[in-house]
């Protein structure tokens, strides 16, 4: 048969396109309002902005310490990502590969914390943070998230899949465990580490309840909490508020677009949001 067949666009687009538009519409309007003038943001019915009001962004950065909030969020997120990558790799390796006294008890205890809702943890956590003088500091946000049960679990699962033979050759050559981890296993760990990094970053960046109760002073706020307080004060100026919102979401959106693959895979393998 030599009939020429056109590949007609699938009819599924007729459903998928509107669906996608509905899902991204709120974010699109966030950007649109952030570029509107005050008057345009309060028109009814709402419409497209006539130009790009970059002034909203300047105003948001001027009227709120958005810059330092973004820095705070970055510091907390980056430190927590690094902490998780290092500490969870070490612990995950130990639980998967080393037989040591109490390892099973310790691992089960770590898994058990996965079932504990945060609101039962937060009250004692607050007392702990106060008693060591960390109230209102970034340390209060970093310490509880430096190593997570999820990270240990993820890394242990990974190490269980690595064939032992890989290490044994290095062992015979006299390499220590740390050296094997750094030189033999690290290259294999990259995708798993990327997954852990992406999830830890998104989670600490978007974290809300803990920073809300642990931080009071504006200079120690993360961008989420700062934006929340900014919202209370500026609901009359929507474009400025939306500009701040866009800035607060930019890092997360960038990470999402760049690392979408890892993100989707990890959400699927561990229930997380």
């Amino acid at each position: 048969m030599t009939t020429l067949r056109f590949r007609r666009p699938s009819a599924l687009h007729l459903v998928l396109l509107p669906l996608s538009l509905v899902m991204v519409a709120p974010l699109v309007w966030m950007v649109l309002v952030s570029f509107s003038t005050q008057a345009e943001s309060r028109r009814f019915p709402p419409g497209l902005p006539s130009g790009l009001e970059w002034g909203n962004y300047a105003a948001a950065l001027r009227d709120a310490p958005l810059g330092s909030w973004l820095v705070n969020s970055s510091v907390v997120s980056v430190v927590c990502v690094v902490g998780n990558l290092v500490l969870c790799s070490l612990a995950g390796y130990a639980f998967a590969r080393v037989r040591f006294l109490g390892s099973r008890v310790a691992f089960v205890a770590i898994l058990a914390t996965l079932m504990v809702p945060f609101q039962i943890v937060m009250l004692p956590l607050l007392i702990m943070v106060r008693s060591v003088g960390l109230t209102d500091t970034l340390g209060a946000l970093i310490a509880p998230n430096l190593a997570t049960a999820f990270g240990v679990f993820l890394m242990r699962q990974f190490f269980m899949t690595v064939p032992r033979e890989l290490e044994e050759a290095a062992r015979i050559d006299g390499a220590g465990r740390l050296r094997i981890l750094a030189q033999v296993l690290l290259p294999l760990m990259r995708p798993t580490l990327a997954t852990l990094a992406v999830l830890t970053f998104l989670q600490t960046w978007n974290d809300f309840l803990w920073p809300l109760i642990a931080i009071q002073s504006p200079e120690s706020m993360t961008v989420q909490i700062g934006l929340q307080s900014f919202q209370g004060a500026h609901t009359t100026n929507w474009p400025k508020l939306m500009a701040g919102t866009v800035l607060s979401q930019l890092p997360v959106l960038i990470v999402f677009f760049v690392a979408q693959r890892f993100f989707v895979r990890s959400v699927a393998s561990v229930g997380i949001k």
């Binding site: 599924l12 459903v15 998928l16 669906l19 996608s20 899902m23 991204v24 709120p26 309007w29 966030m30 009814f44 709402p46 500490l87 070490l90 612990a91 130990a94 037989r99 040591f100 006294l101 390892s103 099973r104 205890a109 770590i110 898994l111 058990a112 914390t113 996965l114 504990v116 809702p117 945060f118 609101q119 039962i120 943890v121 004692p124 702990m128 106060r130 310490a143 997570t148 990270g151 679990f153 465990r177 960046w205 978007n206 809300f208 309840l209 809300l212 909490i225 934006l227 609901t235 919102t245 607060s248 979401q249 997360v252 959106l253 979408q260 993100f263 989707v264 959400v267 229930g271 949001k273």
Partner: protein, 313 residues
């Protein structure tokens, strides 16, 4: 919501070692050397507070000064507190709306996103992107979209001749507005889980059904859908657990109002701890919520042994 839960923690695997080689002191030291930092941190910030919260629930405390023993007074207060029961009922209503709605929307979307169509990656990203949007941002955006005076939703309503609505500012509608907002935020999560389950359906199963004369629709109903059942079970429990703990979406939109219309359980807890400074009572509420969630978790672990792994391609 920041809690994490593995769908199924696999049973602890016994360490396989060459027979005859006993554990050496060096192994104990190395093992603890590697694991100690994480174990100590997680124990200190994840396990100790659970016991501590339980202790707090038997105290009168404002969380700043040392508490005094209260016996069962906090629990007695809870039983007699009409606001607690009101919040509990409302939380239940929220969960009953949020969970089925999210799942009912997610399944057909997952089926759509599982098709081989040009640009499917973009479509998928569009559905997943709300998942990474922070609750604060979501709250601000939805506050504008649902604004009673000039919001987009009211503009659409007036297009079809309906009057403007109050949404978050209307006591009769606020809870439903919160449901809509959180469904938008969680839909991507449910879609990912369903998508993973659909992709795990063995290809030869579908081919075999085709050979037996099944149409595509038939094979979907009789072959693919039953395979998705475990994922549905997981989602049902997982969304319920998270729904029962909803706090931030309420805080950023309505602050529990108007007229307490969106004061859910954890919001009530927050009020008691940080507005009324009754930390002991807040801890008691927390313990009760934890107990309910624990029941759901155990149910999930029992039912979902099979869904320990989802993979999305």
């Amino acid at each position: 919501m920041t809690a994490v839960l593995a769908p199924v923690p696999p049973p602890p695997v016994r360490e396989r070692r060459r027979p005859g080689a006993p554990a050496r002191t060096a192994d104990h030291l190395a093992g603890w050397g590697f694991a100690a930092p994480a174990v100590v941190l997680i124990g200190l910030f994840g396990l100790v507070p659970v016991v501590w919260s339980f202790v707090l629930s038997f105290q009168h405390t404002d969380l700043t000064s040392p508490g005094t023993f209260a016996g069962g007074e906090n629990y007695a207060k809870l039983v007699a507190d009409p606001l607690f029961w009101e919040a509990a009922r409302r939380t239940l209503l929220y969960a009953v709306l949020f969970v089925p709605l999210t799942m009912a929307l997610a399944l057909p979307i997952a089926v759509l996103l599982n098709q081989k169509v040009r640009g499917i990656t973009l479509y998928r990203m569009a559905v997943f992107v709300p998942l990474v949007t922070s609750t604060v941002a979501t709250g601000i955006i939805f506050g504008w979209l649902a604004n009673p005076q000039f919001g987009l939703v009211n503009a659409l309503l007036s297009e079809v001749g309906l009057p403007k609505q109050g949404f978050f500012q209307d006591p009769g509608q606020a809870l439903y507005a919160v449901v809509a907002m959180t469904v938008w935020g969680w839909l991507g999560f449910a879609v990912i889980i369903f998508l993973a389950a659909l992709q795990n359906v063995p290809k030869d199963l579908i081919e075999a059904s085709a050979l037996d004369g099944c149409g595509r629709v038939q094979s979907f109903w009789h072959v693919e859908l039953p395979q998705v059942a475990p994922a549905s079970g997981f989602l049902l429990v997982w969304l319920t657990i998270n729904g029962l703990q909803l706090f931030d979406a309420v805080y950023v939109t309505t602050k529990g109002g108007p007229l307490r219309a969106t004061t859910l359980l954890v919001y009530h807890l927050y009020n008691e701890a940080f507005v009324s400074f009754d930390g002991g009572y807040a801890a008691a509420i927390g313990c009760v919520v934890f107990l309910v969630i624990l029941v759901f978790t155990v149910v999930q672990l029992r039912f979902n042994r099979r869904t320990s792994h989802f993979e999305v391609r």
